[in-house]
Symmetry: C2
């Protein structure tokens, strides 16, 4: 009773995927609601459990459902969008605070080291110039949504690590502690990628959530390139936006 579905026929897996999607939609299931178990779907479609699992694995990879061992499969939450409105004259933190989106930034690590060749070139540094690496974790409503790495030449910000109490953005330190004018954005680049191990852990996301990577170079008039930053944000909840007049 092998009744192999020919190639033109819609495969079992596809049917099950479509069924579960429809099920969630038509029953108006919300975040964390349970969907039928593997065994139930197996009976319903007269299909093997492996086939059902294949379909559910796909939906899991799509971020539509998640599973808990011993409990079942559940509807995944739709992340709330976070809009980042870029402005040449604003830093990342400031831009995010603009839009009434209160969020917190936590310093994970700060260290002084030699920059990579790429970073040295971008920041226009000499052979022996050191840079500060400042790693931050950005959170909104209790959800980690981005990891940020700021790279600043030591010669412009000596003793930088001493100004990290009550941290609320690199630019605040530059202006208040070093009396610089506000940094301006020189260039910005965006790419989409998959999360690295660090983001998997820090952002607590699955391997299939895309990452929106944002790189920016800031300078201060009369000083030089002051900061090169790399922000890696959850692609499913982060939107980069820019208006031109």
């Amino acid at each position: 009773m092998q009744e192999q579905a020919a190639n033109t026929v819609e495969h079992q897996r596809q049917k099950i995927i479509a069924y579960v999607k429809r099920y969630i939609r038509e029953k108006h299931l919300q975040e964390n609601d349970k969907i039928p178990s593997e065994n139930e779907l197996s009976r319903l479609f007269q299909a093997n459990r492996n086939t059902v699992r294949s379909a559910l694995t796909f939906l899991k990879a799509q971020g539509i459902i998640y599973s808990e061992k011993g409990r079942g499969f559940f509807v995944a939450k739709k992340p709330n969008p976070i809009v980042y409105k870029h402005d040449i004259s604003l830093g990342f933190s400031e831009a995010l605070n603009q839009g009434r989106q209160e969020y917190t930034s936590e310093v994970l690590d700060v260290r002084l080291a030699l920059p990579t060749a790429k970073e040295r070139k971008l920041l226009e540094l000499d052979e022996n110039d050191n840079v500060y690496y400042l790693k931050q974790l950005r959170t909104k409503n209790g959800n980690h949504f981005a990891v940020g790495l700021s790279i600043l030449p030591e010669k412009y910000v000596p003793g930088f690590e001493n100004h990290l109490n009550d941290f609320c953005g690199v630019n605040n330190i530059l202006i208040n502690a070093y009396n610089y004018t506000h940094p301006l954005c020189k260039r910005i680049q965006l790419t989409a990628s998959l999360p690295k191990k660090e983001e998997l852990e820090l952002l607590n996301i699955s391997e299939n959530i895309p990452i929106l990577k944002q790189e920016g170079l800031f300078y201060i008039e009369g000083v030089g390139n002051i900061e090169y930053f790399i922000v890696r944000a959850r692609g499913d909840s982060f939107r980069f936006s820019m208006d031109f007049q």
Copy 2:
């Protein structure tokens, strides 16, 4: 893909995944080189073919290998990066041509229809205004890298479908066929997501390749909002870049 783990034991699947990765690296395999077949790996690891398939499916989803029915599994190509330098006064096609990156754009579909509520609002249209939907496939060196959808109000471009011979960008049509001044960019938004079925097919990518989605609104001085476009590009080969002076 799978929430591997809990167990301290390294699973067969993980071993096979690691083996294939190492195999490609250590044997210096290049694009399109063949890797051991399912049966060979099955014998080598004393594992069932299903287990081997599970590992290879994962590597396929990661974009590391691809398969051809009846032939085998092969090393996937590393995509060449494509840099898109955004400029307020340039369209997508023009910006891409700037950088010596010759590419082609193919019209997949054009149709006239009522816009969605969101599109009507963005383009500031009246209830009964129709829009042209122009779907394009962008190719570079024979590789499809982006799907673009341009939405233009019919009232600004009546008979738009008659100007698509020798298509080389929407802006060329606007300027040459309708005598408009060059459109300017009003707003741009970027997000990262996973490919939809359409992109899987058109861009010929695996489910795990992230997509960089770029939305833009263009206007023409004295006319109005002329175009709303949505470009969905391969995240692994597309870089959005913008310079400020």
